[in-house]
């Protein structure tokens, strides 16, 4: 039979997973908005390197004075605005990470406060619809780690970008995409699936 400490912890876990599910969909939608932005950043970088490779004086464009500077200025301006947009998106991702991290640290605190009342049997006890407290804590921490790392990796990628380092800028969309970790995301999805009965129970 579950003690008050266990049911209290279970209820908190249930709420955490509900939050996780919600935040996961926010994360995915923000991330979906990022890829076209990253693509256009790569595209602008390609345009800038094409411009730097072409000797305008050998082309019909030679009649336009300052064309190179002006076009470069426009391209930089466009890239700047994409980066600004990206930093807004990063704020969105950061909010998701923070929401999940806060949930998890609150639940760990709750666990520690009640740890005296929770013996090995209590934390490993499970039923067909309710996984054990130990398992759920682990899954939650795994998910939290995933979002924390994802956010850091993506943030680091953006912070290393420089508008005058074209090769780096050109490869940015590819590197951004390579940070995707479908297996980890799948694992979180599976966990949420496994927990669907538990999450719906009140």
């Amino acid at each position: 039979m579950s003690t008050p400490a266990v049911s209290c912890l279970r209820e908190a876990l249930r709420r955490s997973f509900v939050t996780l599910e919600k935040q996961r969909s926010v994360w995915r939608s923000v991330l979906a908005e990022c890829s076209p932005l990253m693509d256009s950043l790569g595209n602008l970088a390609e345009q800038m390197s094409a411009l730097s490779r072409v000797q305008l004086s050998d082309t019909p464009l030679r009649v336009f004075p300052e064309l190179r500077e002006r076009l470069r200025f426009k391209l930089l301006q466009a890239a700047d605005s994409v980066l600004e947009n990206m930093s807004c998106k990063m704020t969105g991702l950061q909010a998701v990470r923070d929401a999940i991290s806060n949930q998890v640290s609150a639940i760990l605190q709750l666990y520690e406060q009640n740890s005296d009342a929770l013996d090995l049997l209590a934390v490993t006890e499970r039923s067909a619809t309710v996984p054990s407290v130990a398992d759920m804590l682990e899954w939650l921490q795994d998910a939290e780690r995933f979002y924390r790392q994802q956010f850091l990796q993506r943030k680091a990628l953006l912070q290393t970008l420089r508008l005058d380092d074209l090769p780096l800028l050109e490869s940015a969309p590819r590197r951004w995409k390579s940070l995707e970790s479908p297996s980890s995301d799948q694992r979180i999805r599976d966990t949420l699936c496994k927990l669907s009965f538990f999450m719906e129970s009140q």
């Binding site: 345009q47 094409a50 490779r53 072409v54 336009f64 466009a78």
Partner: protein, 198 residues
């Protein structure tokens, strides 16, 4: 852009304007509409130009480019681009016409009030000369940009390498000769003439 001049004009008392003020205000609205039209054409033209570059690229992959006659597809896209550029020429011609009207207003005022022109501003603060100067700056940008478009139209399908094609495309899209300040100047013009609320 919310609240275009058309609906702004409808609910303003200044619809009773006459003479030079009426003319200047109408001119400002025309500038706004012509620039919107230009932007639309630019977008339309960019899609066509991108098609031309892609068609050329896929042809180059298939056989040597210079010996084969241009395909019907390429020809069709090129005449589409020509259409767009012709419409752009028409837009700039209308802009030139607006400049002439502007100059007319200026000359009329010189005739009415002497070489210094009108002493009390027609709207908020601009003199008639300010209007002319402002529109003159817009004109310079669009004239130069149109020259660039004409060169791109001529050369796009003959670009010798993909870098140059890319430069043509990015010139078309980013319009290097239309400075960022130009958009601000238009806004200033709309503010001054009361098309936008101050």
């Amino acid at each position: 852009m919310e609240g275009g001049p058309a609906d702004a004009a409808a609910n303003r008392k200044s619809s009773a304007l006459t003479g030079s003020a009426r003319k200047l205000k109408d001119n400002a609205a025309d500038w706004h509409n012509l620039m919107l039209r230009w932007d639309k054409l630019n977008e339309e033209g960019f899609n066509v130009a991108a098609n031309i570059v892609n068609t050329r690229r896929s042809q180059r992959d298939l056989w040597t480019p210079d010996e084969s006659p241009p395909s019907d597809e390429l020809q069709a896209e090129c005449s589409k681009l020509q259409d767009v550029v012709h419409k752009m020429v028409a837009v700039v011609t209308k802009m030139e016409h607006l400049m002439e009207l502007q100059r007319g207003v200026q000359e009329l005022e010189e005739f009415q009030f002497g070489p210094e022109g009108r002493t009390v501003p027609l709207f908020h603060s601009w003199t008639t000369k300010d209007f002319e100067e402002n529109c003159g700056v817009l004109m310079v940008d669009f004239r130069q940009e149109l020259r660039l478009k004409l060169v791109i139209l001529e050369e796009l399908a003959h670009a010798v390498n993909s870098d140059l094609s890319m430069v043509y495309l990015s010139c078309w899209l980013h319009q290097p000769f239309i400075r960022t300040q130009t958009r601000l100047r238009l806004e200033a013009l709309l503010l001054e003439t009361g098309h936008r609320p101050v």
